[in-house]
Symmetry: C2
């Protein structure tokens, strides 16, 4: 008899790693970090980019650059900006393109979570 | 009216990127490249690692190192080796642990492909 590894003992230590992102014409435009920023902007009722950036541990400038990069890569902005608001510095909101990308990303995330559940079960049952 | 991007035009250019791998106690043990090697070993009836490596565009040494790395990270070998065979240099076969990891990886891959189909439909239909 061959001396084979004991799979029952080993399999509980197996896990999955996954990374996913949206692309536009082959360029990465939305992974987990950038999606977090769009979510924070969506959630922020006052339209404060400073606040939304802070929630992601980004500086205002870094967050603004992310928005500009997505705009550059897709050829279209993902936010509408305006002057005024509580801080006086202007507000920012997702436009329909920003919302669309975030929705698609969320759907993707949900599907990924479903597989993860399924696979965890598979390992336990088999 | 706000001037908003035309989503119908844009959405056909969206795609998905995904990377996934198996981990063992938090260490990466099997991504697409290493899984290819295990598949080639499984397929190779003569147990030739030279041949299996070649199919993956790896050198014999590189392929052997991959097997050793998986062994180190999981604390168990993924192959059984022996002497003799057509080339005279010895043969290599997946053991039960190597087969198990490859099977789990394949299931993962299948589930991922299913989501991809689903998401492609979503984008087209919505």
């Amino acid at each position: 008899m061959e001396n084979q590894p004991n799979i029952e003992e080993l399999k509980s230590k197996i896990n999955y790693g996954i990374k996913f992102w949206l692309e536009f014409e082959g360029k990465s435009i939305l992974g987990s970090g950038w999606a977090e920023l769009l979510k924070s902007i969506e959630k922020n009722k006052e339209g404060s980019l400073t606040q939304a950036a802070k929630e992601c541990n980004y500086s205002y400038k870094y967050a603004w650059n992310i928005l500009k990069r997505i705009e550059k890569r897709t050829g279209n902005p993902v936010v509408i900006t305006g002057k005024g608001g509580r801080g006086g510095g202007g507000w920012v909101r997702l436009n329909n393109w920003g919302k669309f990308l975030l929705d698609i990303y969320r759907e993707y995330l949900n599907e990924i979570r479903k597989i993860e559940e399924k696979l965890k079960e598979t390992i336990k049952i088999d």
